[in-house]
């Protein structure tokens, strides 16, 4: 049961994968988008899962990043130490996908805890591979539902670094990848300002108003002078999305 806006997220993310040769994929929305890209404009896209599967070609959406089909269809399966040390860490991966529970204006992400670390209101799963994906991939895409609870002025915990406290921080921290280039939400798309590194609303999804997005953001949101509109899903995209989701229901 997916909503039209969830479809917009998946479709927008899949489109953003154009040009990428390979992609480090987490589970859930990123996996949907990456597999949608393979099913539409980028059949050659190499999907890399942290379970060690390189070049996986799943026919259905995996429930876990270690599903058997990922290994069976992969060009190569390597150990978990190898996938992180030899493949992710050196900066071989064009594009990494991240989700989170909280994001701030510099696209830093929290997937660890809501509330104080020692007395959590809500304990979340934690880091997994996200911090190194955020550090090492040449390009990073973030997919996250937009609301005042998720788009916050200050993170409760910084699990993964976007642009830290602003310009120059990634270099200071020795993070060699390019950092987040797009944040795709259920309302639209935000991109970092090249000067200030602060997220700017650049596109809204069809039927979404800019002030809605403002109201769903926990800080005074910067908006591009000419906000675009994301193209609605094409028949081809929606059909491919349906096929992937249907196949998943086995």
């Amino acid at each position: 049961m997916s909503t039209p806006l969830e479809d917009m997220m998946a479709v927008t993310a899949a489109r953003a994968l154009k040009g990428a040769k390979n992609c480090f994929v987490g589970i859930g929305a990123p996996s949907t988008a990456a597999n949608l890209a393979r099913a539409t404009h980028s059949p050659e896209l190499v999907l890399i899962y942290e379970s060690g599967c390189i070049g996986a070609k799943p026919t259905r959406l995996p429930l876990s990043i270690g599903d058997g089909e990922l290994a069976e269809t992969a060009d190569a399966v390597v150990s978990v130490p190898e996938i992180f040390a030899y493949w992710l860490q050196p900066g071989r991966i064009d594009l990494g996908f991240l989700g989170a529970a909280q994001i701030d204006r510099f696209a830093n992400l929290n997937s660890t805890v809501i509330g104080p670390y020692d007395q959590p209101a809500t304990r979340l799963p934690g880091a997994g591979g996200a911090p190194e994906i955020a550090a090492a991939c040449r390009r990073v895409l973030v997919m996250i539902r937009q609301s005042r609870r998720s788009f916050v002025a200050g993170l409760d915990f910084r699990t993964s670094v976007g642009f830290g406290d602003g310009p120059g921080d990634r270099r200071r921290l020795g993070l060699r990848g390019g950092g987040p280039e797009m944040v795709i939400t259920d309302l639209g798309v935000l991109r970092p300002d090249p000067e200030t590194c602060e997220l700017v609303l650049t596109d809204v999804h069809p039927g979404v108003r800019v002030d809605e997005v403002r109201q769903s953001t926990g800080w005074p949101l910067r908006v591009a002078p000419d906000v675009g509109m994301t193209g609605p899903p094409t028949e081809v995209e929606l059909a491919a999305l349906r096929r992937l989701r249907e196949a998943g229901k086995v």
Binding site: P81, F84, G129, L173
Partner: protein
């Protein structure tokens, strides 16, 4: 002279209950690995049945097996890097322990996958620490004591360092063993070899015992002489999966959300399906 913890082992094949009895003691540091694939549920359930307490449990992804062990009070400490129910959501027993100290407080040591993996690799390599590019700029640097920074002696560049992990007991599940206790696993092999090689004592449960191991494509062999004990535990990875034997019971992972959400229901389920079920539990 230094006494290596890695003296030659027998890899003898013994019943699971006997192996757990012999290898796992209250207060031990116990790693159970298997990255989504080949999760050693049968061994974990046997540890629960034997009532082990005050364990430090180590796993990249605690998954349902640690949710169960934590909920049943086996653990006083958890070392991990991602504590969710893959594709489903929360691990409710894990959360209840951290958020509400139920059934008892749970101390945590939290890493990234890459960082905890580097701890295993250093342990398997007999090095005091491992290095990686990681943690920089994250809050994990602040809350996790087992993360340090180190300068490259040649370039001065700063990298992260983590101490070697050498569990008292390392437990993994594999597809095959031969009668001498040599083991083969294939498919997604995760950090299983490192877990066995890093641990002072090791237990491998297997789907089948064969006359002779035939090396498979993608097969990883662990020789008997680095394994303390091997136990025949068919289905021992359910509800996770064993490539070539059975697939992942996604329905169980989804159903676990409701079962584990409620303390009474969880305890009842464990009593019926693990405590009373002997080796038969999934």
């Amino acid at each position: 002279m230094f006494e290596s913890p890695f003296t030659s082992r027998s890899g003898r094949i013994v019943p699971l209950a006997e192996a757990v009895q012999a290898l796992v003691r209250d207060g031990d540091i116990v790693a159970l690995e298997g990255f989504t694939h080949l999760i050693p549920f049968a061994a974990g359930h046997e540890i629960i049945r034997q009532g082990r307490r005050r364990l430090t449990l180590v796993r990249l992804t605690p998954d349902l097996i640690f949710d169960q062990m934590i909920g049943m009070g086996c653990a006083e400490r958890l070392v991990f890097s991602w504590g969710g129910n893959p594709g489903v959501g929360s691990l409710h027993r894990f959360r209840d322990a951290i958020e509400n100290s139920w059934p008892q407080p749970l101390e945590i040591e939290e890493h990234t996958h890459a960082g905890l993996t580097a701890r295993y690799v250093a342990g398997a390599s007999g090095l005091p620490f491992g290095v990686l590019r990681g943690y920089s700029g994250t809050s994990l640097e602040r809350v996790t004591a087992t993360v340090a920074t180190l300068a490259c002696p040649f370039t001065g560049e700063q990298v992260a360092a983590v101490p070697a992990l050498n569990p008292d007991v390392g437990i993994v599940h594999a597809q095959q063993a031969d009668r001498e206790g040599n083991v083969q696993l294939w498919g997604i092999t995760g950090v299983q070899k490192e877990t066995v090689l890093a641990s002072a004592r090791s237990l491998v449960t297997v789907e089948e015992v064969v006359e002779r191991l035939e090396l498979r494509p993608g097969g990883v062999i662990i020789p008997s002489w680095v394994i303390t004990a091997v136990a025949h535990a068919p289905g021992g990875a359910r509800p996770s999966y064993a490539a070539g034997f059975y697939s992942r019971d996604n329905g169980f992972y989804e159903a676990w959300d409701a079962v584990s959400r409620d303390r009474e229901r969880f305890v009842g389920w464990m009593q019926e399906n693990v405590m009373d079920a002997g080796g038969a539990a999934r």
